[in-house]
Assembly symmetry: C2
Homo-oligomer: 640 residues x 2
């Protein structure tokens, strides 16, 4: 698949954008007119720079408001177009995007439109330029891709074809199956963009909220499957207007973009395989391949569970105390590294002592159980996940690790559902010698990671493509410092649950006092992350932890009154919840009990019990947790 | 007018919110249930704290999903309600907001609904609680305020009334005139919120994008006029869900909120005056006053023009050179302060030398011509604009100054349309001795100020209420560092044009390298502001400036080719534009020529010529300006 990207997707100048596209490995680019108009590079310099960078210049765009106008305006439009054709020949470009008219269309007549497009194609042909005509979703008369295609067929000119843009098609919920019947010679260009499903006017949606494939909710693999089956072999090019991408680091965004196309290519191949046409189904294994060959990736199953979580700290004493009080046993130190292993059943926490002195205690890494770490790592690598080296001795297990967009290290480990992973033997002396006598079974239920706002969409694609997690509908949770957007990513069986939290902006910047407006003494609000462990009997676990002196997050009395008003709980049960600072939720699927520890650095722990088929995270209780943590932090800072 | 605000409008804990509301001067508050549930304060503590702070607890909210349900669910809902009534008696509160059912309504029958509301009112009455029933804009069966009111009339129970929320009414475009015919005894509560007109689903619009009155586009003065004429005398309370306010400094947001109610009160009084009912019109001057007396503010005319602009710099040499090259004359130094005066016709620029050594050159203050500085200052003061002291000697003009939300100082000066203001004589020796012999007439055309993202809405209200400027439809401009939102505020005759620019977030934070992801060498991107001067003959002004060695912002050749393609310009004129680095725009009203200087610190200057009735700012050229400035800054930093 030939990959492309429109320069409008990226931040920076045209020169910076082109360099970033080349580094990310794109085959070609679309030149967004404004990027050229504002550039100090001449058309000839751009042409030669693209050649040096190994980038083809695939599409000049956009040319607006051409068709469906009175003759006088048409003459001006043709004049305007010819200036662009001349410019394109200096750039060495042969295809221009012409969008259906929005602003100046005044005559709704397909015959007239066809005649006007024919004149444009004729003029373009004289300059060796091909017109890729696209129906904008908000075009005044032409806003349906089949309508645009009918016009192209009607004109039947070698220099007129259509451009298919997934956003303009899928935002309107048009059926994409008819694409298969298009003449591939008449599809001049294909643009892809994903988007979250939003109920807003389509122009604002398009101009601000597009995302790269895999970061939204459009059925892009199906769209691409139809395009491939039609016989299209040209570039598949990203055209993503996104307020965040336009201000983010250009090289990083370009890599994110490239990852989305690599992933889309694989998903499209899978869709074609799973949805054969009747002819393909009849031909069976011997069916003909599509002219556009789709590259595949190493195929991996979704991870079976968490292998471990790692917390890094300069001073580990508080962490050790907390884990011991929760019921974790100390399994010894690694024989060559400065790390400790703590376990409670299948829940394994590594304390990494190699943090710089000033570093705050933080979640540093998460390990996932996969069938084959080597194959999973090869897949991640092909998806341009940045590898992280981890030193190991000759006889130690080698971890395949990658940096997630929030810089947490992600390790792909050999799964060992029925026992301890091999690497545990590198810690010694083995056994929970210092742990409680009868530690309950436990597993890591979920890990909650704070995401920088610039990398939230990138993180969703990263975990979707490299780890085969699926984004669930997101939630918004109120906190005293603003709304927190919470995006759960899971495997289908819930064996892995990762929660990506997008903290309020001001909190990410370090609190309002940085803006120079807050009164003195306002605390710097850092954002907290956590690891949650699931046990079978939360009440017993909580009692035991209390016996060991655990400091629970103190839940306000008002919460229990509201709980009672909402759920009409058995008084003894409510008294137990209140006594142990447990939180409670219930839905049609089951019940959820949980509690939180105090925070160490930016890390705290949660213990949960899932009853029945409860599949949530106690979202109604999250505001309570946020408020109490905020209060606690505030008091800490005021007394500091 | 009794002022109120819902705690959900603000950031922080309940304690912090209540303190901020008291400081800002609110009469009362609405307690948002989640703020109470997550609070460590007991209901009795909240009650006593409110009493200490002088705040009444006006409304407990919200109680959701009560009506239109089967009997079994109704019983559970009544039980749930009674728990809240008991809680309210501990809080000493007597009014609760009940919203029309969204989630569990299953029976659409007004008779049944009335019977259910009647039972609720009966139960509430036993606890001394009044039910304020509100139609949510997205209520399943009840989503029209007149429908809610009909139900209240039908039930006719002393403990059941309606709550009017401007958002739920105006977001649906319901006519507000029928409010006048409501029985005021049945209006238990009035909530006000403004909002920008957005085409999106009303729930998302409501939950994220409400703003304080004067910061959006709703006709709130008319809404309030009808409410007042109905005879309502209860609290007028803000209920504004806004993602930014929820994370901003709580005391500052509370002041912004209070300012919006003070302004709304005045606007409502003016609306009533301008729109008398037939009976009021017939009664003439002797007409009866409304039971809710609306306070008025000192009334001022809109400012007539700019009096001066002030730039502060540690090293003023570059500024002096730039102004001299533009054609400004040096009018001397102030006799007691370290400031210089530079003039060109009526355009006056003060260079303030009192910047700290490390401070970047920046726009520090803007002076406006008003009829009466004392009255205008009194108005600003009543609108809680923070006054800024400016030292002056006994015989010098005293400036009335206030800090705008972006901390620019705003001065209210005696207008002097036909001559120099009196304060000019404090500079000496007078006369443009060092300026060019025949300086053209000039005025300050517009001033462009960068706004921090947290204070953008606040700034719109500040300039609307304190300076009587009117917000125009906003524009979005592409720059290499992201989209810039540009909000023009003007007087009706265009005598004052202020442009508030909301820079991309990452730029406000100091560029992507601060996120730790950008390659070394990436420049820190600071945001630039500017002052634009209008002259009669821009070409002559530019030639003269070039003769004096002015460094123009260099416009790329590609721009002129595009200009020619768009406008089909006379070749000689195009050559002049190109030769002098002038930018050009044209619309149905006229033409616009302009050029920019290089940047000093964070300040640059623009010279413009308006031809015909052109009323814009050359928006199509703004991306060119941003790109060239970005390039220039980038090269500067790379070679530094």
């Amino acid at each position: 698949m030939r990959t492309g990207i429109a320069t409008v997707c990226l931040a920076g100048t045209l020169r910076e954008k082109m360099q970033a596209c080349a580094i990310a490995g794109f085959d070609g680019i679309e030149i967004f007119e404004q990027d050229l108009v504002t550039s100090s590079l001449s058309p000839e310099q751009i042409r030669s720079m693209a050649a040096d960078l190994g980038l083809t210049l695939d599409l000049y765009q956009p040319f607006r408001d051409f068709d469906s106008v009175p003759e006088e305006l048409l003459a001006a439009n043709l004049r305007r177009a010819e200036a662009k054709f001349r410019l394109m020949s200096r750039l060495g470009m042969d295809t221009i995007l012409v969008c259906s008219n929005v602003a100046t269309a005044s005559i709704d007549d397909d015959g007239l439109r066809a005649a006007q497009l024919s004149r444009l194609a004729e003029l373009a042909g004289e300059h060796g330029v091909r017109i890729a005509y696209e129906a904008l979703a908000w075009g005044k008369y032409v806003n349906d891709y089949e309508h645009a295609h009918r016009l192209v067929e009607l004109v039947d000119h070698p220099y007129l074809g259509t451009c298919l843009d997934s956003f303009h098609i899928l935002s309107r919920d048009w059926d994409t199956a008819p694409i298969e019947r298009f003449n591939p010679e008449k599809i001049f260009f294909v643009q892809v963009a994903d988007a979250p499903k939003l109920s807003m006017d389509v122009l604002s949606w398009s101009r601000h909220h597009r995302v790269f494939p895999g970061e939204g909710q459009f059925k892009l693999a199906k769209f691409m499957g139809h395009v491939v089956r039609a016989g299209y072999t040209g570039p598949v090019s990203l055209e993503v207007f996104n307020d965040v991408f336009r201000q983010s680091d250009v090289e990083r965004t370009a890599v994110d973009a490239m990852r989305s196309l690599i992933w889309l290519e694989e998903q499209s191949a899978r869709w074609l395989e799973a949805n054969p046409s009747p002819a393909e189904a009849a031909a069976g294994a011997g069916r003909r391949r599509h002219p556009m060959e789709l590259a595949t990736l190493p195929r991996v199953a979704e991870p079976a569970g968490f292998n471990f979580a790692e917390v890094r700290a300069a001073d580990t004493a508080a962490l050790e105390t907390l884990l011991g009080q929760l019921g974790f046993g100390f399994n010894g130190r690694h024989r060559t590294k400065n790390v400790q292993l703590w376990t409670m059943g299948h829940a394994r926490v590594i304390i990494n002592e190699e943090a710089p002195a000033a570093a705050e205690t933080a979640i540093a890494a998460v390990g996932f159980d996969v069938d084959s770490p080597v194959i999973a790592a090869a897949r991640a690598q092909q998806l341009k996940a940045p590898a992280v080296p981890r030193k190991s001795q000759a006889d130690e297990e080698v971890f395949q690790g990658f940096a997630a967009p929030d810089s947490t290290e992600i390790f792909l480990c050999q799964g060992s559902p029925d026992g301890a992973p091999a690497w545990v033997s590198e810690f010694g002396p083995a056994g929970a010698e210092t742990g409680p006598a009868a530690a309950p079974q436990a597993v890591i239920d979920h890990v909650n990671l704070a995401q920088p706002w610039q990398h939230f969409d990138e993180a969703v694609l990263f975990y979707t493509s490299a780890l085969a997690l699926e984004p669930q509908p997101y939630a918004e949770v109120a906190s005293p410092s603003g709304l927190v957007r919470s995006q759960v990513m899971t495997t289908r069986d819930g064996g892995v649950r990762l929660v990506l939290n997008l903290a309020p902006l001001l909190q990410q910047e370090g609190g309002p006092e940085q803006a120079g407006t807050a009164p003195a003494g306002t605390p710097r609000r850092t954002y907290q992350e956590h690891i949650a462990f699931a046990v079978d009997d939360l009440v017993a676990t909580a009692r035991a932890a209390r016996g060991r002196g655990l400091e629970f997050l103190q839940i306000p009395a008002n919460y229990y009154e509201d709980l009672d008003a909402r759920f009409d709980l058995d008084p003894a049960f409510l008294a137990t919840l209140r006594e142990l600072n447990l939180l409670y939720d219930r839905d049609a699927d089951g019940e959820f009990l949980h509690f939180y520890t105090a925070t160490v650095g930016s890390v705290f722990f949660e213990m949960v019990e899932r009853r029945g088929s409860y599949d949530g995270y106690g979202a109604p209780n999250a505001p309570v947790r946020h408020a109490v943590q905020y209060d606690h932090l505030h008091q800490l800072k005021l007394t500091a």
